[in-house]
């Protein structure tokens, strides 16, 4: 579906409001186009273009709520989706935790749109794949990669007068390059709102260099090591931990942020004083919509961790109301403060340590301590006297990000990184961390 203008979207949301007989109504419209190209074994395997849009209508009668969605926008379909939501609301039992729709919000626009990204065509995608494929063939390497770009819009509205509409663009590129004999593997990831910040050749070269350098990895005994963690090595660990910043879970005693005897650890210093993590919808590197599409509250710049102290928790509308706390739109991005130091400078200042390109298949082992397990992948190196000495075999780790963020020795310059399983963009610095817990070796390359 084409990207709707504000006027076109407003016509739809106004029509929905006029059709419903329910006590209240909220509407979300989102859509646009997503293009992608996928390649493997130095060949394009699939390429596609998806045009789609959805209209979500949520209505309530008292504390009974129903939700219906549709992707047709003619008058008959609009009427149909409203009646379906109303039917479901009448069937639903009363929810004692139901919260009424939020009052009118002031949304301050963020720069989520780039004209250059919106103009990406199949030729551009093919050329992106061609850079990796041709450079890999030239170096007798084998690449597999995926490039996807989107141009979309999002509209939110409710019967209390809330209305917001904004366009956004995104690109995401990942590429894995392996040696023909499978003894070396390198990887790169790039994400951006504006494709002008993306250089397919530069990105492919990073993966190629890591693949060539990672051949003939030596085994290092598992144990606790000083590590230099590139942003892709910590993004999902930190993202996973922030997913546990839920105020209700903490208050209920089922979170690592629960306090002994009751209450939460809000305000406690749980991390190294160098740790500052916040969210900001207007950040120019990782801009996001200025509203939380779930409850339609306006987002604000929010400090999650300030100078190592827990400085905010996430409150649902219900829990904020129950606890007498002002509810704010949930964060849509994550930014960790850093310095001007490059990864190379962090390596140069390390006598003995391990450089980790990325971590993978991260799962929670114990929610009590946010103990996570996972593995290193696609470029793990031994550092001696400030230099990368040789590649080493991959490790499994069992470590808590809380412990990791307590053991920071140095922080570098933040870089944009999109999470693998964490669904938002982040700005994370490379970090030098002591005593990172590698528990076993993996033969995987």
């Amino acid at each position: 579906m084409k990207v709707l203008t504000q006027e076109e979207s407003k016509r739809i949301t106004d029509r929905i409001m006029s059709l419903t007989k329910a006590d209240e109504c909220t509407v979300r419209v989102a859509g646009g186009r997503t293009g992608n190209i996928r390649y493997a074994r130095n060949n394009v395997s699939t390429a596609g273009l998806v045009n789609d849009a959805s209209l979500v209508v949520q209505v309530a009668y008292g504390k009974r709520q129903g939700t219906a969605t549709i992707n047709e926008f003619d008058d008959k379909s609009l009427e149909k989706v409203v009646r379906r939501a109303e039917d479901l609301a009448r069937l639903a039992p009363e929810n004692p935790e139901f919260m009424p729709a939020v009052s009118k919000q002031a949304y301050k626009a963020s720069q989520t749109f780039s004209r250059a990204s919106a103009a990406i065509d199949p030729e551009f995608r093919a050329q992106t794949a061609a850079y990796s494929i041709e450079a890999s063939r030239k170096n007798k390497l084998v690449c597999a990669g995926f490039f996807t770009d989107s141009h979309s819009f999002q509209t939110v509205a409710n019967s209390n007068g809330v209305f917001g509409h904004q366009e956004e663009t995104n690109i995401d590129f990942t590429c894995t390059v392996r040696t023909e004999d499978g003894r070396g593997s390198g990887w790169v990831k790039r994400s951006a709102t504006d494709v002008a910040r993306f250089d397919a050749r530069e990105a492919s070269d990073v993966a190629i260099e890591k693949a060539l350098r990672s051949v003939d990895a030596k085994a290092l005994e598992p144990g606790r090591y000083t590590v230099i963690l590139e942003p892709a090595a910590t993004s999902d660990l930190i993202g996973f931990m922030l997913g546990g910043f839920d105020a209700r879970q903490a208050d209920e005693g089922r979170s690592f942020l629960s306090k002994k005897g009751g209450g939460t650890r809000l305000g406690d210093k749980l991390f190294d004083a160098q740790v500052n993590i916040w969210s900001d919808p207007w950040d120019t590197d990782v801009p996001v919509m200025p509203w939380d599409a779930g409850n339609m509250l306006a987002r604000e710049r929010m400090d999650m961790i300030k100078d190592g102290k827990v400085s905010a928790l996430d409150y649902s509308l219900f829990w904020a109301n129950k606890k007498g706390v002002r509810a704010i739109g949930a964060p849509g991005n994550m930014i960790m403060g850093g310095t001007d130091k490059s990864t190379a400078e962090l390596i140069a200042g390390t006598k003995k340590g391990v450089l980790v390109t990325r971590t993978w298949y991260i799962r929670e082992v114990d929610p009590q301590s946010v103990l996570l397990t996972g593995l290193t992948r696609d470029g793990t190196f031994y550092i001696e006297n400030g230099k990368i000495k040789h590649p080493i075999k991959n490790f499994r780790f069992n470590e808590s990000p809380v412990t990791m963020l307590n053991n920071i020795e140095a922080i570098g310059k933040p870089q944009v990184i999109a999470g693998d399983e964490v669904p938002y963009s982040m700005l994370i610095p490379p970090m030098k961390v002591r005593d990172f817990n590698f528990t076993s070796l993996s033969d995987a390359v």
Partner: protein, 545 residues
């Protein structure tokens, strides 16, 4: 990779915004009216004619209508009820020896023909970077046929109130038995899939699946500790009779430490046990790290099978098509070619099966029109075969496809996905209680817990829901903080006993993720209770700040 997707769907308020990605909400009365077969055939013919005319050497068309219903509950409240529908057409072609794919939700003849022509144009563009043309194993056209998941009660006809009442009754039972908090969710899936191809097949299928995960949490505020115990039932490919809770379908775990379920599920009974056991876990002994003989119940072992046997024997991973996402595989072609690669001990036999009744992977035909079948993957411990689609069969010397092609929607392209991969039961009579008698120092593990494995499937770490210490042939009491780490080949070669067919049952993964853009599939894995000797166990308890 077993995804965390379902957590997002069931996380309360977020559900309302996340669930609709599955499709459009529908009124109950519209659920029961399938799209007329003659209409679907005319759409498919339009696509195939347009593709052929545009120069395609092959074309297949998938017309899908996907109906889902999700009910999420928290303690005594129903948080969300969502009905979704998604309909449309996906057209795949081969032109110039390369694939092209396009899809549309506009089910008009013109729009579908346009999608077919677009697919041909994409195939031509892709062929420029193609170094070798596609080779498809032949499939004989089957004409007009139909297949449906066997069931006796259609979930679409069960009143929403009855389902909500059942989940709330389960939550109440858990809370009454000791849980501080309960959640339960009901996932119901119906895929109406029509497949047609230029090979002469017109296949109409009606597929049903169910899953009802639950979780009990017990909190001790004084010590600031909490523990959870999730449900022990498997998702299933059947109708609402799954919830009949027939007494004959309840069995006792070894030592009577838990009640387990075979062909139907007593969710209230399991929730009650979950509430009690979550509370008991707060006082359980912490494990001493070291080597143990592990006795693994099918409710736990299915996920270890999925990750360490199912994924590494996917031929697309072996060949490198998943290198940029899920990874490759240690089970390489050179190892397979020797016909001597000892994946596991002699007693280890793995069978791929797309026919097993009640399984998540059971279908009549795959998404390339290949009839469902059954074949050996590991025989007497040796790697003998893989899981292949039509374009992969020639690579392993097969004359026909294994029928492993699947797409999760009409708008996603089909590719190689895992069939049910199951461990054959032991040939000698052996019960779980008899198996425990032979263990001097061991741990009995039930339920799916934490899971992680490397990108070539060598090194893994798994946890469970319930752990019991075994000393000198007896289960002595519950343990906590247990995870085992091993290497796939070492682990399956350490397999020292498998219970017999009487103990064989399935577990399953409802949201298995693979591909870019990522697609989910559902698959079952059967086994009997199985023992592994001398496996490394770690203690997972940690202290923070």
């Amino acid at each position: 990779m077993e995804r965390r997707t379902f957590l997002k769907i069931s996380s309360g308020a977020a559900g309302a915004i996340l669930v609709p990605v599955f499709g459009n909400a529908i009124a109950a009365e519209e659920l029961m009216n399938p799209v007329a077969i003659a209409f679907k055939k005319s759409l498919a013919d339009a696509a195939m004619n347009a593709a052929t005319k545009a120069g395609a050497s092959y074309c297949d068309v998938r017309i899908g209508r996907y109906l889902n219903q999700f009910i999420t509950t928290r303690d005594l409240n129903v948080e969300n009820i969502v009905n979704t529908e998604s309909s449309g057409v996906g057209v795949r072609v081969i032109a110039n020896g390369a694939y092209g794919f396009a899809s549309t939700n506009d089910m008009s003849l013109d729009s579908i023909a346009a999608a077919a022509r677009q697919a041909v144009a994409i195939a031509r563009a892709n062929s420029k970077l193609q170094s070798e043309p596609l080779r498809m194993a032949p499939v004989k056209g089957v004409g007009e046929v139909a297949w449906a998941t066997p069931f006796t009660r259609d979930w679409r006809t069960v009143p929403i109130k009855d389902k909500a009442d059942m989940l709330i009754a389960a939550n109440k039972a858990g809370l009454d038995a000791g849980a501080s908090f309960m959640t339960s969710t009901l996932f119901q899936v119906n895929q109406q899939k029509y497949f047609a191809s230029t090979d002469g097949s017109y296949i109409d299928q009606d597929i049903h699946r169910l899953w009802a995960p639950l979780s009990a949490t017990a909190v001790d505020k004084a010590s600031n500790r909490f523990r959870t115990r999730d449900g022990l039932a498997a998702p299933a490919g059947m109708g609402y009779e799954y919830f009949d809770a027939r007494p004959a379908d309840k069995i006792k775990a070894a030592g009577g430490v838990a009640t387990l379920y075979t062909k139907s599920y007593d969710i209230v009974d399991d929730a009650r046990a979950a509430g009690r056991q979550a509370r008991e876990k707060l006082g359980a002994k912490t494990v001493e790290p070291g080597k143990y003989d592990l006795v693994l119940a099918p409710e736990h072992l299915f996920l270890t099978i999925h990750e360490s046997v199912g994924h590494p024997t996917e031929l697309d991973r072996v060949l490198g098509y998943e290198a940029n996402y899920a990874g490759t595989s240690f089970a390489t072609l050179d190892k397979w070619r020797t016909r001597k690669f000892k994946f596991g001990a002699d007693r280890v036999n793995f069978i791929a099966d797309k026919n097993e009744p009640g399984s998540l992977g059971a279908v009549g035909y795959d998404d390339e029109g290949v009839p469902a079948k059954r074949w050996d993957i590991i025989k007497d411990g040796v790697l003998v075969n893989y899981q292949a689609t039509r374009d992969q069969a020639h690579i392993i010397g097969e004359k026909e496809s294994h029928g492993c092609s699947y797409a999760d929607s009409w708008n996603s392209v089909q590719f190689q996905r895992m069939p049910n991969v199951s461990l054959a039961a032991g040939k000698e009579l052996l019960t779980p209680d008899e198996m425990v008698k032979d263990v001097k120092k061991g741990i009995y593990i039930l339920g799916r817990g934490s899971y992680s494995i490397d990108q070539q499937r060598y090194n893994f770490q798994f946890g469970g829901q319930l752990y019991f210490e075994i000393k000198n042939g007896k289960i002595t009491g519950p343990l906590e903080d247990v995870a085992y780490q091993s290497n796939t080949q070492e682990f399956w070669n350490a397999c020292s006993a498998i219970c017999d067919q009487r103990d064989w049952r399935m577990g399953g993964s409802f949201f298995d993720g693979k591909g870019q853009p990522s697609q989910v599939s559902a698959v079952s894995h059967g086994s009997a209770t199985t023992r592994f000797n001398g496996i490394n166990v770690i203690n997972t308890a940690r202290k923070i700040g």
